[in-house]
């Protein structure tokens, strides 16, 4: 077994270098021999986060694993770099997304029923291309419409590990 300091730095460097979140399994697989246990890895991640306490970044857990990211609060400065800022979404886009997220699996027809307007196919196409939404099956009704659901990547994007972390809906008294 490598010494602990080494393990810590290897895991840190893997998280730094990876483009995608790494699962505990991915991290264990970095080692050909003497694979650390998942608990050991979790412990290392905790320790790393402690040593990042005063830094601008941290390790967080999202749906598909762990990733290292800049803490919130720096957006004011960082909005100026990485110019591709497609970060503002239209009302129609967000409404379609939340209906899929909260009511999944849903068909296009379900979304139209709730919103009262035809769904812009470009919005669904974008959601599928971002890999935020995928087709999980077909409803056994005439036309066999596609059933849409959100993906883990959607959760990753919104810094969540599970759908239960979505903001809770307002309780509206239905009479």
């Amino acid at each position: 077994m490598k010494n602990v300091g080494n393990l810590e730095l290897i895991i840190e460097s893997a998280l730094m270098a990876s483009n995608e979140p790494l699962s505990l399994q991915d991290i264990a697989n970095l080692f050909d021999t003497n694979k650390p246990s998942k608990n050991q890895i979790k412990k290392v991640i905790d320790d790393l986060n402690k040593s990042f306490a005063k830094r601008s970044f941290e390790i967080i857990q999202v749906a598909t694993g762990y990733r290292i990211q800049v803490k919130t609060g720096y957006d004011e400065w960082l909005s100026k770099i990485n110019k591709q800022s497609s970060t503002r979404y239209s009302k129609a886009f967000l409404e379609t997304l939340v209906i899929i997220a909260y009511k999944q699996p849903v068909t296009r027809g379900d979304i139209e029923g709730i919103r009262g307007v035809a769904v812009n196919p470009q919005i669904i196409r974008n959601l599928i291309e971002f890999e935020w939404v995928k087709v999980v099956g077909h409803k056994e009704t005439p036309g066999k419409p596609e059933l849409l659901a959100t993906t883990k990547k959607f959760l990753d994007y919104f810094n969540m590990t599970s759908l239960s972390e979505l903001p809770p809906p307002e309780e509206i008294e239905a009479i």
Partner: protein, 262 residues
């Protein structure tokens, strides 16, 4: 001066808030388009009308709401907007509810037979998702609130194999692109001048390496007349697309190409 405010959806004309639109008021069609585009559909428009009157969704006074809704629709139609049919369907639904409420019910029914019930249910459900869409927009998300770190490895050589792509796949992808381009109509894809575009890339690459190159160096005389024409067209195209500047310090002196400066 016409302004709209996204939260309240007020329309201001010369500073005063317009809530009811007088019959004789001329509204520039562009302004109305702005109003219409603010609504995500008939339910959204209804919710707005309800909110504006400060009334409870669960007890909509169907008569005035229907009247206002129909006024909006008529106004939009008069101005010959292409109105989504969903708006008309809603107008019909409202008219039906109204007539059912006006006709006294033979049998004294219970509350649940309120002709408004279904509409109210839909409005409440839509309101719920509308609120959620505002909330999800506030959830910290990547590249706006948080930023993933992707450090580069010092000596990292990717050992991956190159993708295996067949020409037929490229062709297929290109057809897909053409279809899309048609949807996003403002773009027309020109392809007949591929050799020109290739030459544009080549010259740009040279310019970016050397900052400035002389006009004459762009031409390769071994290429013959066609090659010269392609090069010349490429230079003209780049000037047209504002990619480069052509510089000549004085008459009959050398002509240079350089990156465009503003």
């Amino acid at each position: 001066m016409i302004q709209t405010n996204s939260d309240q959806l007020e329309v201001k004309i010369n500073g005063s808030v317009i809530t009811d639109i007088p019959d004789d008021l001329f509204i520039p069609p562009d302004a109305l388009r702005v109003i219409l585009e603010r609504f995500e559909g008939p339910l959204d428009l209804l919710l707005y009308l309800i909110k504006k009157q400060n009334i409870d969704i669960v007890d909509i006074p169907i008569l005035p709401i229907t009247k206002q809704y129909v006024e909006y629709i008529n106004m939009m139609q008069q101005l010959e907007f292409e109105l989504a049919s969903d708006y008309l369907v809603m107008a019909a639904t409202l008219a039906e509810i109204k007539s059912r409420m006006l006709v006294p019910n033979e049998i004294e029914d219970e509350e649940e037979d309120d002709p408004r019930a279904n509409l109210i249910k839909r409005l409440l459900e839509y309101q719920k998702y509308k609120d959620l869409s505002v909330k999800i927009d506030e959830v910290p998300r990547l590249n706006r609130d948080t930023f993933v770190i992707s450090g580069i490895l010092a000596n990292f050589k990717r050992k991956e194999t190159m993708p295996t792509i067949k020409m037929s796949q490229l062709q297929e992808a290109f057809h897909e692109v053409l279809k899309r381009a048609e949807i996003n109509a403002s773009h027309n894809i020109q392809t007949e001048t591929l050799s020109v575009r290739e030459r544009m890339s080549k010259i740009l690459d040279e310019i970016s390496k050397q900052e400035t190159i002389s006009f004459i160096d762009c031409f390769d005389f071994n290429e013959g007349k066609m090659g010269a024409i392609v090069t010349f067209l490429a230079i003209l195209e780049m000037v047209k697309e504002n990619l480069i500047d052509i510089i000549q310090n004085e008459d009959f002196s050398m002509i240079y190409l350089q990156t465009r400066t503003i």
